[in-house]
Symmetry: C2
Subunit: 444 residues, 2 copies
């Protein structure tokens, strides 16, 4: 499909091209435009019917949006400004350089310009930054018939009309009513009698992660957003929340791998930014790991007299690190999904104690059989390695299970207590245990 | 709020209790029931108006659902079977033991029983397992007025009426139309003229991860599901997709920490299951790490003659592992979100080469300054450690960036190429590099 369109474009067969393209979904048209060069993109874009053009615009990359804004007339820009959904407009403006923002603001009506400035000021990742203002508001003394008439008159421009919001003269939220309820109610019923008054809402400055968890809990399609004076500012729709959820997960993945979180896509990110995001944690962990080195240094005499002991260090360090990361990952994820609360502290310890006992027994046993019978290592050394392995797994899993909850308790992000930090801690512990047992059992 | 309700329940003040509780949202009532013991839960549940009771039932834990089913009459069960949304019913039945499923099926009409059996047979994690059958279907020769009348007659029982599906006599999907479009159209327009025919859909056996990515791409609220003969079987709604997204992310977190993925919540999971999910990978990685041990064994003479070299092993291993995990995490996540494709292989290599060069230079420089000037280690040893660190970071980041793409290319899950495996590989590489430079520079 895409090839055919691109071919028609190259052949300048604009009539056939236009016929093909207006049949497509706006998402697919945007995809095609992304594959074109700057000039072709503008040609194809200008060929779209005005309203479809605006829908397509919302799905373009920031780069193509900027290219198009810089190539079209003020009149065309004005049409985009007037017709683009408000939340898409804000998303777009947030990523544009100052000259493009200026061009857009010049083409907006004064009222809209003020609103844009207000919305651009909401903190990044707050509920305010997700708000759309295209919702339907009703009055509680309307009948269903009047409400549906109002809907028909204004609904076409609204992003979602599936929930309508009932407000009073000072924009205070009094209730909500679904389009579904409106459609299936008798025409002469009064909104006040059929609206829901137990409304769940969020505030403009709430964190988007909190907003996402409200959506997940109640299975809503949209949620009203109030300001500090409890007036309705706008709504948040679930399609934007899907993006928030993925963004929050990406942040957790990044933090758990010891990086500064970043919203920029990998392939678009600047090399220096990527390097900067990675260096801080690597540096902290590198310095911490030198303390582990000190432990080896302190027991140099033990290694000198029984050199084979050094050969088991990587296995002990790695297994301990992996065992600890497993536990910390499960607990961090459980905390993020609110399946684990800080009050479950002792439940987690008790669970990790039992799990790590089973895992420890199985792994140490297999390890003992392997190094004693197959590698023919002496009994005392096999015993030292095996006991160390068991103790390390127990400690690693308990440390891995506890630290994320402790972090949450101290209002830190549990995600920092992931693999890299746990590994560093467990490495040091494993080596101390190892050399202590070695001196004890081998009598060095 | 919850305390008040629980207090009224303990005081057996049922009248006040009922008044309080019917004002609440079903999600909140379910939350309260979860805090009660088995008997209290049943008492409170039976106090709810019949229809609210069914809504609450859908939000209860499997444990409480089973408790309630085992305590109520067949007539009450029949009401739940008749009124519960079909997808909630399937979710519930999938988790119930055979005797409960039998009890439910006995209370279902024959037609529904057949449908339940069909749906219970869809593979877990397939589109089929997410289907709801409560949707509105129209015929293309209806007028808008007739369509809205049909909606009013049947819409109350449907989970979503925001999109209506136009089918022909053999249930083939011919188009879709949104409630919004219906409401704002003229009453005498014909559905065929205003419906959309470029419909995006999925098949019953498609993987749920694929379904989620369709939702993310097009910002849909619902998506039709067709069988192999292209007949409409049901729809999938976005609230279930939010759960799928979180579940797929949880699976990725688990795989990336070297565990078998599991859908059971941590606190509910059996200790033996948890242990089993963790042992396999730990065992594989433990055995692999012994090869790293072999490398140390092979260079025993180097360690014997310059014992201080051992002290830098943990730092080199950990920093290499962390550097590699950072890259692999970003690439795995990029692949999962479809921001990186396998064709971007060389772009990723080029990016990692440049990033790792910067990171490597900064870290090695700081490391050199620290060990040569502060720890007063000899120049040659400082140089050996520094060069090894630089080379290890470069290699770790390239390996970490490449392996997830290679995995995808071979149809494996990129998530297995995460921290644990990368660490094990990088550890071995780091040690070989270390001892090679040591023998070269120190002339051992």
């Amino acid at each position: 499909m895409n090839e055919k369109i691109i071919r028609l474009l190259k052949e300048k067969n604009f009539k056939a091209l236009r016929e093909e393209i207006i049949e497509l979904n706006e998402v697919n048209i945007a995809e095609i435009i992304e594959e074109l060069n700057k000039n072709e993109a503008v040609i194809l874009y200008r060929m779209l019917p005005k309203d479809l053009a605006v829908d397509v615009f919302a799905y373009l990359s920031n780069e193509q949006q900027m290219n198009i804004i810089n190539s079209i007339t003020d009149k065309e820009i004005k049409h985009i400004v007037d017709e683009l959904f408000f939340d898409d407009m804000i998303d777009f403006l947030e990523e544009m350089p100052a000259n493009v923002v200026k061009k857009i603001l010049e083409n907006a009506k004064e009222e809209e310009r003020n609103l844009i400035n207000q919305f651009l000021n909401y903190p990044e990742n707050s509920a305010g930054s997700l708000i759309t203002i295209e919702y339907v508001d009703l009055r509680k003394d309307m009948t269903v018939k009047e409400a549906i008439k109002h809907l028909k008159e204004t609904g076409l421009e609204k992003e979602t009309i599936y929930t309508c919001y009932v407000t009073d003269g000072s924009r205070k939220l009094e209730g909500i009513i679904s389009l579904r309820k409106l459609v299936i109610s008798q025409e002469d019923e009064i909104i006040e009698d059929i609206m829901e008054t137990d409304v769940v809402y969020v505030h403009t400055h709430d964190d988007q992660e909190m907003v996402a968890s409200v959506f997940k809990k109640y299975d809503f399609l949209a949620l009203p957003v109030l300001d500090k004076e409890e007036r309705l500012v706008g709504i948040i729709t679930i399609d934007d929340i899907v993006d928030v959820i993925e963004q929050e997960n990406t942040e957790d993945f990044q933090k758990m791998a010891g990086m500064e979180p970043s919203e920029i896509e990998y392939l678009d990110a600047n090399v220096f930014t990527l390097a900067k995001n990675r260096i801080a944690w690597l540096l902290i962990l590198m310095i911490s790991a030198t303390f582990t080195g000190r432990i080896i240094q302190r027991y140099e005499n033990v290694l000198q007299s029984v050199a084979i002991l050094a050969a088991f260090i990587p296995m002990l360090m790695d297994t301990g690190g992996n065992a600890g990361s497993q536990s910390s990952t499960l607990v961090i994820r459980g905390l993020a999904l609110e399946e684990i609360k800080t009050k479950d502290f002792f439940k987690v310890i008790s669970k990790e104690l039992r799990v790590s006992f089973i895992v420890g027994i199985v792994l140490s046993l297999i390890n003992f059989l392997r190094i004693y019978f197959i590698e023919k290592i002496s009994f005392k050394i096999s015993l030292t390695v095996t006991i160390t392995l068991f103790v390390t797994i127990m400690l690693a899993k308990i440390v891995g299970g506890i630290l994320p909850i402790v972090a949450r308790k101290f209002k830190l992000d549990p995600a920092i207590m992931a693999s890299p930090l746990i590994t560093t801690i467990v490495d040091a512990v494993a080596l101390i245990v190892y050399f202590s047992f070695a001196t004890m059992i081998l009598g060095i």
